[in-house]
């Protein structure tokens, strides 16, 4: 039976892991750039998603490892725990710090859990719940808005399970999905520009092929639970940028569109989108051809468009993205899952922690008794 405390621990773990992998991701991306792999956007996108899934499954994995540990299948030397590691480093003199301060730092999570029951903690919890409720309401409103746009759109064609629609009220093509069908909506004004229509369709089909719509919807659904965590937003926008860069590359490689025509199309759609920005100003769960609105942690849309155009003009083909993912994702997943296990609360008292506790107690005794009087001093 899972109790509330376990769920809260898992929630805290996921948030901590998100921050950790976010920092790790930027270091990893920098390393890839230095090795001349800045163009490997598809491989990066797949890795980003894999690592995100690993973060979400991290608490389950840690629970599994704890179960194996309890069954006695893990040797003490093989156990990984961040608290034990830090204490061991401290006792070996690898870093200097006040023992009481270190103990307080290590017990931060327990103290936070206790603080959750204080009036201030309760107020923070209520604020977090209100924020989550607001996010959910925003999601609901965006779905209503999206349904209205879809209902007003005209059915154009149907290809298998993909529904193509034309809308008079949108200016930027986008794709989304229902329970069974996937939907691509294009501005009806695009019928006047056959080449743009082809490019937009190719781009949106590639989004559907990459599963971008499903990812977008899933991230929008879990956003209310992570709205306060900047790492989640940074992670999401990293995914969005890589998704567009990867989609552009794949579309150009697959369909051999003219790069200049492709860039012209992106510019035209962006221009049209800026003219009538209000129509889809609410962030709806869709994947659009271009982004026209500013978002927190998302950077300016013009900067993203510029990076996309530079990327397609540079036009370096991504060779063997699957191989790159297979080679690189192993270490990334291993680090993420190890971190998921390492950040768990330590089990039994270890020798090192007993030692740290003794030092803390001695420091406290010294503080209570005052300094030891020396020969010749007044108290001797």
């Amino acid at each position: 039976m899972i109790n509330a405390s376990t769920l809260l621990d898992a929630y805290v773990d996921v948030n901590l892991l998100l921050v950790f992998v976010c920092v790790l991701w930027f270091a990893f991306s920098r390393a890839l750039d230095l090795f001349g792999l800045s163009y490997a956007v598809t491989a990066r996108l797949r890795m980003l998603r894999m690592v995100f899934l690993a973060v979400l499954l991290g608490p389950l994995f840690a629970g599994l490892v704890a179960g194996i540990d309890r069954a006695g299948h893990v040797q003490p030397a093989q156990q990984v725990n961040l608290t034990d590691f830090i204490v061991a480093q401290y006792l070996q003199g690898r870093f200097q710090m006040n023992a009481s301060a270190l103990e307080q730092l290590l017990n931060l999570r327990a103290r936070l859990a206790e603080a959750a029951f204080s009036p201030a903690g309760q107020a923070v919890l209520v604020a977090a719940m209100l924020g989550a409720a607001l996010c959910m309401a925003g999601l609901g409103w965006s779905v209503v808005k999206l349904r209205r746009v879809l209902a007003e759109a005209h059915r154009w064609r149907r290809i298998g399970r993909i529904d193509l629609r034309l809308s008079d009220t949108i200016t930027v093509p986008f794709s989304t999905r229902g329970f069974r069908t996937r939907i691509v909506v294009l501005p009806s004004s695009m019928l006047e520009r056959a080449s743009d229509l082809k490019i937009a369709l190719g781009h949106e089909f590639q989004h559907l092929r990459q599963g971008d719509v499903e990812w977008e919807i899933a991230l929008r659904l879990i956003r209310p639970f992570f709205f306060w965590n900047p790492a989640f937003h940074i992670w999401k926008h990293q995914g969005e940028e890589l998704r567009e860069l990867s989609c552009d590359r794949q579309v150009l490689a697959r369909r051999r569109y003219d790069v200049a025509a492709y860039c012209d199309c992106l510019l035209r759609v962006c221009h049209d989108g800026l003219r009538r920005r209000r129509l889809l100003a609410v962030e709806v769960p869709v994947v659009a051809l271009v982004r026209t609105e500013n978002r927190l942690f998302g950077g300016r849309p013009a900067a993203l468009l510029r990076r996309r155009m530079l990327s397609v003009i540079e036009g370096r083909a991504e060779r063997h993205p699957r191989l790159a993912v297979a080679v690189l994702s192993g270490p990334a997943l291993a680090v993420t899952l190890t971190a998921a296990v390492a950040i768990q609360k330590p089990g039994d008292w270890s020798q090192d922690r007993i030692m740290l506790s003794t030092i803390v107690n001695l420091e406290r005794l010294q503080a209570v008794n005052g300094p030891v009087p020396m020969f010749g001093s007044p108290g001797f």
């Binding site: 209902a151 005209h154 034309l166 009806s188 004004s189 019928l191």
Partner: protein, 132 residues
């Protein structure tokens, strides 16, 4: 999704272009409308057919099948659509005061004496008709 839902009152730019051609032609096939478009506004056959189908969904045209081709015909006249558009313009932009609309037209357009005379004649005729 029922077609009734799709019935909107106004036309997009490209749809207006199509309707203008259809008002001129009376009845027309997709190919006829396509040929009547100005060279700069030429569209692919499939795009032209799609626009006519959307116009049918919106209730601006009807179609009848003759053999393998569809013949399209406008369901409302150009005058009716002009009135509807002007009414909308007057409501939205001129606070529902048509006099303001006419004043703007008279002030901003370089209307010739002849045109102003025609407008006056139209207004006089309307006033006489109302008195009867």
């Amino acid at each position: 999704m029922s077609d009734n839902k799709k019935k909107t009152q106004f036309l997009t730019e490209v749809e207006l272009e199509f309707m203008t051609r259809l008002w001129e032609l009376g009845q027309a096939t997709v190919r006829d409308v396509q040929d009547a478009l100005a060279p700069a506004k030429k569209l692919a056959y499939t795009s032209a057919a799609t626009i006519l189908r959307i116009l049918e969904q919106k209730g601006f045209v009807t179609s009848t099948k003759q053999g393998k081709t569809f013949i399209y015909q406008a369901t409302l006249s150009k005058d009716t659509y002009q009135s509807r558009s002007l009414k909308n313009l007057s409501e939205k932009l001129f606070d529902n005061t048509p006099a303001a609309l006419v004043a703007r037209l008279v002030d901003d357009y370089d209307l010739t004496e002849e045109t102003l005379g025609e407008i006056r004649a139209l207004i006089d005729k309307r006033l006489r008709d109302d008195k009867r």
